[in-house]
Amino acid sequence: MNILVCISKSPDTTSKIAFSNDNTQFDDNGVQYIVNPYDEWYALVRALELKETVGGQVTIITVGTTTDEAIMRKALAIGADEAVRIDADPKDAYYTAMQIAHYAQSNGFDLVLTGKETINYNGSQVGGMIAEALDAPFVSLATKLEVNGTTIQLEREIVGGLELIEVALPVVVSCAKGMAEQRIPNMRGIMAARTKPLQIIAPQAIEELTNFIQFSAASSKASVKMIDADNMDELVALLHSEAKVI
């Protein structure tokens, strides 16, 4: 089974978010980058588990610059076999997805996995876009994935519930919580990652369909009003007449 896992970098979850150049750019001064948690914990680990049970090859791919090689080495240390970097700034979801789709098309994969969304732009778009470009089925927000010969069975979230479905390979899947458990790379994995192949590919010419023109940090709350634990009537009255939420 030939599996492609799309990974992206995102700021460490404890990062404070700031912007530069008149609030038009994310200021990553002092920011530590990690593999986007959904990509690492669910998509990559499930791909490795499938390889362990049915055999095959796990390739990770990212659209990014040289600074992204640290997170690629991390993914290799966790167990991916090889890495591909499309040498470009991931301008928007469409641009990123079309680069990956082009690579996937020319290399033939049974399964393309993405995380549910990135924790920086939270679009949840790349997987569906790749699927459309490949004319393949797309299963979004899957929480379970089992291979059964040339078909896979998946559990996916639907509004207010879960659905168990079956679909023939090749397919694109976005992975959510439940799919797998986080793996911590061991020393052997880290050593092996140093010599695993990391291929760098020039990007295709693709236009950007969208761009961010401005950012703003979340507005902070005015000060908190403290209420005595023995006076819940006061809290209820405030929620009703001051906050107007009940």
């Binding site: 912007f19 920086n120 939270n122 997987g127 299963v139 979004s140 207010g160 009003k225 634990a229």
Partner: protein, 313 residues
């Protein structure tokens, strides 16, 4: 004209009406597109929010995003739609990105407001730690709207329901079974959310949280460790790596307020925090705070609410 795709498979959700309200604010001409077996009476309810027309394809059930993409793209082109609106939930996330590629139309994922004067649209970024303004460069644009981002607005319009059939091919997805939690309010749509964390000590203590939620007509949520240890189901996990929500009222009980938790809930309009530790970081993000033991405070809060509801009904 604006085309709104809505799922009517499992009844029509509040966020579907929000999407139509949003579309009606963009343009006076609004058409809703859906599939499945919802009744004509159910579907004509979109007229209340400003839709003139509802197109329904009865042949497909909505489980295969590839079929829906064909259906939606065909009608977007036939009707010459300038904007397509989706709900930014399981439905929109499965379909809208595909349609974006098919029509080469830029997509604003998770819009939380109407377009600004310069045409850009506000979305949450960094899981709610900040917001950004997205500009679409293509002539047709796609907007998926996050639940609870715009208040419903009645705009009584005479609305025709029309059955259509599009050339969508066969479904490549076979649905084997469907599990639905009964009657629960979907978390992202809930206007009030009662959430609890590790401070509750064990799953056996969630009774008071559920009682409080029931009194308020609220959905329940939890912090990540609580879902990880299995005290509560995964779909209740809110935060940077869980569900992001923006209810009118978020009540956080025994949750410390770690940065990853706050990221997913700080879009809430009003936050109430109950914690024994007066130094808990959550108080800095709260509107109202109660320093106290949840086991004492929550039953008291519930009693006060029951009294209030009785007096105000």
């Amino acid at each position: 004209m604006i085309l709104v795709y809505i799922s009517s498979q499992n009844g029509i959700s509040k966020s579907a009406f929000e999407a139509v309200t949003y579309a009606r604010k963009l343009d006076s001409e609004v058409c809703v597109l859906t599939c499945g077996s919802a009744s004509e009476a159910q579907l004509s309810a979109f007229g209340q929010y400003g839709a003139q027309k509802v197109l329904v394809d009865r042949k497909i059930d909505g489980s295969d995003a590839q079929q829906l993409t064909k259906l939606i793209s065909q009608y977007a082109q036939e009707l010459n739609a300038s904007t397509l609106v989706f709900t930014h939930d399981f439905v929109g996330k499965a379909i809208a990105p595909r349609v974006s590629v098919k029509l080469k139309a830029g997509m604003v994922a998770g819009a939380i407001a109407l377009p600004e004067a310069n045409g850009s649209i506000k979305v949450n970024v960094f899981s709610g730690k900040a917001s950004g303004f997205v500009k679409v460069n293509s002539s047709v644009r796609i907007i998926s709207l996050l639940a609870n981002s715009i208040p419903l607005e009645i705009n009584e319009t005479s609305c025709k329901v029309e059955e259509i059939t599009a050339n969508t091919g066969d479904s490549k997805i076979k649905v084997i079974s469907v599990k639905k939690p009964d009657g629960a309010i979907p978390l992202p749509e809930a206007e009030i959310v009662v959430s609890a964390g590790r401070g509750l000590k064990g799953p056996e203590n969630w009774g008071m949280v559920e009682t409080l939620a029931q009194t308020l007509g609220a959905a329940t949520a939890c912090s990540r460790p609580v879902a990880d240890i299995g005290w509560r189901p995964h779909h209740e996990h809110v935060g940077q790596t869980g569900v992001a929500i923006r209810p009118n009222l978020y009540i956080a009980i025994g949750i410390s307020g770690a940065i990853q938790h706050l990221a997913g809930v700080n879009g809430s309009k009003v936050i109430v925090v109950v914690n024994t530790d007066k130094e808990a970081p959550f108080f800095k993000a709260a509107d109202y705070g109660v320093i106290g033991d949840a086991f004492d405070v929550i039953p008291k809060l519930n009693a006060a609410l029951v009294k209030f509801k009785a007096a105000n009904n």
